[in-house]
């Protein structure tokens, strides 16, 4: 489990990021001003820091200066979208740059890719006896490889990333296939195939009028 520090002075956004990352299986610490963030950085070590640039106290660029020597990867989260700002951020050594307004999916994808790039994990998602390597796109059950089609894999990844939450059918379809859902059969069919392949008939729950939910360990 990767620990991530969120430095963002907008509480609404900070909590949104925290909520999303926790659901995706990360351990998060949230802080709302630059000086507190500097203290936390000095005391603890994190796998990734999500950093807003405009902060009360110390700004994001200054904090980046503290973080560089520790080698902690940094993603800037900012409303400054000009090319100059991006280049400045990346030049200073940020690993990625997310511009507000961003979508949660984008945040998760970038978080994962930065963690993977810096060799801090983020490539395997595990549930029960199944481990999924998101970069090699392979699924192993008890160490044995299980063949998955790309769509099935994407669907499984969505379930794993939002484990414990009941996901709406149309959004699942939109994320895996793209576009609006025309018939529910395609999605249901894929879910059933995953259930069969992994013997997860009871692990992937059908939620009435909503969609599907992958159970957490403690639910079973």
């Amino acid at each position: 489990m990767n620990s991530i520090l969120i430095v963002e002075d907008e509480i609404a956004i900070a909590r949104l990021i925290e909520m999303s990352l926790v659901r995706a299986g990360y351990e998060c610490t949230m802080v709302n001003d630059g000086e507190q963030a500097a203290d936390l950085i000095a005391e603890n070590s994190y796998d990734l820091v999500l950093l807003d640039i405009m902060l009360p106290g110390l700004d994001g660029y200054e904090l980046l200066g503290y973080l560089r020597p520790t080698g902690t990867p940094v993603i800037f989260i900012t409303a400054k979208s000009s090319l100059g700002d991006r280049v400045k951020g990346l030049h200073l050594g940020a690993d990625d740059y997310i511009v507000k307004p961003f979508e949660i999916e984008e945040l998760l994808a970038r978080t994962q890719s930065v963690l993977r790039r810096t060799g801090r994990g983020g490539m395997t998602l595990c549930a029960f006896d199944v481990c999924v390597d998101t970069s090699a796109k392979t699924v192993r059950q008890n160490g044995v490889s299980v063949p998955f089609t790309p769509r099935e894999f994407a669907l499984l990844e969505q379930l794993l990333r939002n484990r414990g939450a009941a996901l709406y059918r149309d959004v699942l379809y939109e994320r895996v296939w793209g576009g609006d859902m025309e018939d529910t059969r395609t999605l249901d069919l894929h879910i059933n195939r995953i259930r069969k392949k992994l013997f997860w008939q009871d692990k992937i729950e059908t939620v009435f009028k909503v969609g599907y939910r992958l159970k957490k360990e403690e639910d079973t």
Partner: protein, 507 residues
């Protein structure tokens, strides 16, 4: 060709022409004088020779002797030796009609005899033989004889040639010196032009601070002066333009930032809600943030709209009862005073100021809102007014957090917030004071902000007193303005809850 070169060429040409013309006239004059002097002398000598020959011939006649060739030869040789120092030559002829064949005596240089024929009587002419020039005189004498005298004037011509040569050398030397002088002079004269050219090229290239700095009392000095003045005004204009562009960019940057932050939250929470079935607490939180952030965007857009409208508005100031305005502000703001003590100084009901009633209300409402927000629970806010020589000075003071000195001049910038997180908590967008200062400017005054960190803030502005005689129905007109103003209050500035405030105003 450069101007300096042209100038130098023209100077040298004019000088050469003038010098040559002058020299020629001088040389020709000298030559003509010398020639004339020689001619007079020669003529006199010729006349003397004629006279001497004639008197000898007459004397011989009177003695009865014949004037024969021998006599003539003898006479001529004698005379010649006597006047020989004049380097003169002479000849005596018998036959007038064909003198060249009838020479009795001649010591004329070779070749000159041929020129003798056809010479008009008593007239002089110049004959050039080889490189020598002779002046020839011919006079008919008695006994059908004729005397020819020739004088060598080559020397005069040689002198002329030498003079011309000397003059040419002199002219060449003088012109060379003049050319050098002209080049230097023209270079010196056109140097300021080069400076001007360089300066204008630099300015065209973007170095607007460039000046020529040529300080002379002539036309070039004047040109440079006006050029510098032009550059100065161009520089100022460019800087003003840059500043306004910068201001606009800052405004746009701040605006986008202000807009993007709530947008991110709204999109994010909405996305979460539509993706999965969250537990009721998370759902409530997400919905709460969506509502709150959307409200923020709404407030922001209302205030921005008002700011834009105010920028293009021309208001008419009319007598307004300060008492009525203060009452309206008090009613409208009371709901959000909370635990902060707000006190209004007593105001005479007939105190009239020149203002726009609605805008003045907005201004005071916003200032009061800021003051209350700056205070903690135990804070106190005072709205007071004092009469001064110019009119009336209204102050809104609090004992709240105050503004750090280095941020004081930025507080009226749109979107500027001294303490962003505190401003956010109380629903501020950073436009309130920008609006206030705009309203103050429309009233021909400006906000004076005195503040110290943790010492509170006092904002004051001046208004002109209105002549009571001009507004005999002041009380009545105020009522109308309240009634007219009410619908506009839907876009009330500084309100965290416009609906509630509207009720306050209408009361």
């Amino acid at each position: 060709m450069r101007f300096a070169q042209k100038l130098a060429c023209v100077i040298v040409l004019v000088l050469a022409a003038a010098f040559s013309a002058g020299g020629s006239v001088l040389l020709y004059g000298n030559f003509a004088d010398a020639l004339q002097n020689a001619a007079q002398q020669n003529e006199a000598q010729h006349a003397l020779a004629c006279y001497s020959l004639e008197s000898n011939m007459l004397a011989r006649h009177s003695r009865g002797d014949a004037v024969d060739d021998e006599f003539l030869k003898q006479h001529m040789s004698g005379t010649h030796s006597a006047v020989g120092k004049h380097a003169a030559y002479s000849a005596v002829y018998r036959n007038q009609a064909a003198p060249e064949t009838q020479a009795v005596f001649s010591n004329l240089p070779a070749g000159l005899e041929n020129s003798v024929g056809g010479l008009p009587d008593n007239q002089m002419r110049y004959v050039k033989i080889d490189s020598r020039v002779f002046a020839l005189y011919q006079t008919p004498m008695i006994e059908a004889t004729g005397l020819v005298s020739a004088f060598d004037v080559s020397e005069i011509y040689a002198v002329r040639t030498r003079s011309v040569q000397r003059f040419l050398w002199l002219e060449a030397a003088v012109l060379a010196c003049a050319a050098v002088a002209a080049v230097l002079l023209s270079h010196w004269l056109t140097k300021p032009l080069a400076t001007l050219t360089a300066a204008s090229a630099d300015i065209a290239g973007g170095a607007y601070e460039k000046r020529t700095c040529i300080r002379t009392a002539d036309e070039i000095g004047a040109l440079s002066g006006s050029f510098d003045a032009m550059a100065e005004s161009v520089e100022q204009t460019v800087h003003a333009l840059e500043a306004s562009v910068q201001q606009r960019d800052d405004f746009m940057g701040a605006f986008t930032h202000e807009l993007k932050t709530p947008m991110t939250a709204i999109i994010g929470y909405a996305d979460t809600l539509r993706t999965m079935q969250c537990d009721p607490d998370a759902q409530k939180m997400a919905a709460g943030y969506i509502f709150g952030e959307a409200k923020r965007v709404e407030t922001l857009s209302q205030k921005l709209l008002q700011l834009l409208v105010l920028s293009e508005q021309h208001i008419v100031l009319c007598p307004v009862s300060l008492f009525t305005v203060l009452r309206r502000v008090e009613y409208a703001s009371k709901p959000w005073w909370g635990k902060v003590t707000v006190s209004f100084a007593p105001c005479a009901a007939d105190l009239l100021v020149r203002a726009d009633a609605d805008l003045l209300t907005d201004l005071l409402y916003n200032l009061l809102h800021n003051a209350v927000k700056a205070c903690d629970a135990a804070g106190a806010v005072t709205v007071a007014h004092t009469q001064t020589q110019e009119g009336i000075c209204i102050t809104v003071g609090d004992n709240g957090h105050g503004i750090p000195a280095h941020l004081l001049e930025r507080v009226t910038e749109p979107f500027f917030m001294v303490d962003k997180s505190r401003a956010r908590r109380s629903g501020g967008s950073g436009i309130g004071l920008a609006l206030c200062s705009k309203i103050a400017a429309l009233h021909g005054t400006q906000l004076t902000i005195k503040s110290g960190e943790h010492k509170g803030t006092v904002v004051s502005f001046a208004l002109q007193l209105a002549d009571k005689a001009l507004a005999p129905h002041a009380a009545q007109s105020d009522k109308t303005s309240v009634a007219l103003a009410a619908p506009r209050k839907s876009a009330h500035p500084g309100s965290s809850n416009p609906h509630r405030d509207r009720g306050g105003v209408q009361r």
